[in-house]
Amino acid sequence: MAAIEARALCKAYRRPLRAPGLSGSVRHLLRPRHQDIVAVDHLDLSIEAGEAVCYVGPNGAGKSTTIKLLTGILRPTAGTVRVLGRDPHRQRVANARDIAATFGNRSQLNWDLPLGESLALLRDIYAVPQGRYRQHLRTCADILGIDAFLSAPVRQLSLGQRVRADLAAALVHDPKILYLDEPTVGLDIAVKERLRAFLRQLHRERGLTIPLTTHDLADIEDVCDRLVIIDQARLLYDGTLRQVRDRFARERVLRFVVRQPDRADPAGILAGCGPVRAAWEGDTLVVAFDRLAVESPAVTARVLRAMDVVDFHLADAGIADVVRRVYERRLDLAEEGGQP
């Protein structure tokens, strides 16, 4: 059985419908009306132990809600969740021993206490043996550099320090699953790199299962092997990074800078290469095609033979393009074709 299993998982928030002003409030008091906001709509998701899955989608797509359902913070409106064989909401305490979660925009630590004290309390809450705790502190000091601010109250930490502190706190009890909701939001490049390196290590060496949400494309390519795209509460796509590239990111663009271009229709030269689109941009010939359907060397050879090429550039659509198209609601799953 998979580590995380969601079947037809739904979550609708109830939001009070209240006209503005005093009369609206009074009317609401007498006759409360609510509007259901569907944040997660019949989600089917299965994550195996040891997978690092990236969850992307525009703001309000339902990513955080999904994480809260999987961690047991929220109760599903309908559908089922099983995490390590348990219902995370009904068996909240048992589930909590095996998982950890961080929310990028909100600390899990007590603001008034020094970080070291918070960590020691967590050690006692999870009954972590002293030796393993010390080992954990050493690892966190080495990779996250938390030793520099162990004695500072959490309220005094910078965002970068706080995020590292949160991660150190989340891992005190050596969880099997680590949920991360926008772990790199607002961080500078150096801290992001450090965090990603740590996550990679946790994933590859300790086999930690990591579901994470992000808007940062580098998080996806650096840490994850699988991408789940959601929009407006629904699952749009679920597959490995390689599958995503092969299915949605197949366009390749070749640009040839030509000396004394004649700007003649390039269709003649490129005949026989397969379906390509070619056009002139000033002195540059731009050829775009599906990299799985058309062989780049064939295109290049023909252009080089026919023209005096002085420079040459190749660009592939990446995960970034795919995700950008999702965010702009321009990704048409039907049109892209191919099997997932």
Binding site: K68, N105, E117, A127
Partner: protein
Amino acid sequence: MGVDADRRIHGPRPYALRVLWLYGRMLGQHALARLSYETDFLLTIGASALTQVLGLIFLGVVFSRIPSVRGWTFWQAALLYGLLLEVRGLAAAFGEGAWSIGGAVARGELDRLLLRPLPVLVQLYGGGLGWSAIADLGLGAAILAVAGPHVAIVWSFGTVAALCVALPSGAMVYWSAMLAANSIAFWTVGARGTVAFLLHGVSELAKFPLPVYPRLLAGVLTWCLPFAFLSFYPARALVAGPDLAVWLSPLAGLGSLLCAWLVWRAGLARYEGTGS
């Protein structure tokens, strides 16, 4: 550091004991953090002491005009007043967590507590002590010490036993009232603490002997919002010997606790956090 030190796990192992130990440990950490904001701390206690002194002056004024109210002498009333401060102070000292429910719901901070393998209430109440209760407890003790010798207390085994059940029960009533009232934040996020403040105000009625109030109100204070069990019934047991009401006070205490727990559970089930 040997292997034994490495395998060492702090605290007791059995779950119930461990939860209790962790509760104490959280309170200890909180106390240390709080004490480091010294002026803040002294201000809280000072302000609370001042409120109580004002209340006492009021009591003195009333009784200087009328030496006895409905059969209660000034010193008997003072004894009751002192008892209220002790019982309510104790409940408030360990009931501070209830006041953080409103903010935690509004800001979605229960998320954090729901991620830990400990009952949410233990974490909430472990999050702080009611420091202002120190002033109440001190003042209450002083009043009891002064008023005690002036009152002919019926000391017997029965009286002592009655106090042993009545005082904790009274504290339970107040503690539960604050939990239930603050849990209303799950339904009305905006009005956080309002109902609890109101109920606390109602508990002020227990500073005076029940017979001074109209029958209906006295009934409410016994059967609906049983604040009479905080001070009146224990004080009457001291003055006139234990009676049925004082023996039934555990019913009031446990009943309140049950109601509060049901309200809390129903509220928590509605918790949806905040958007992010």
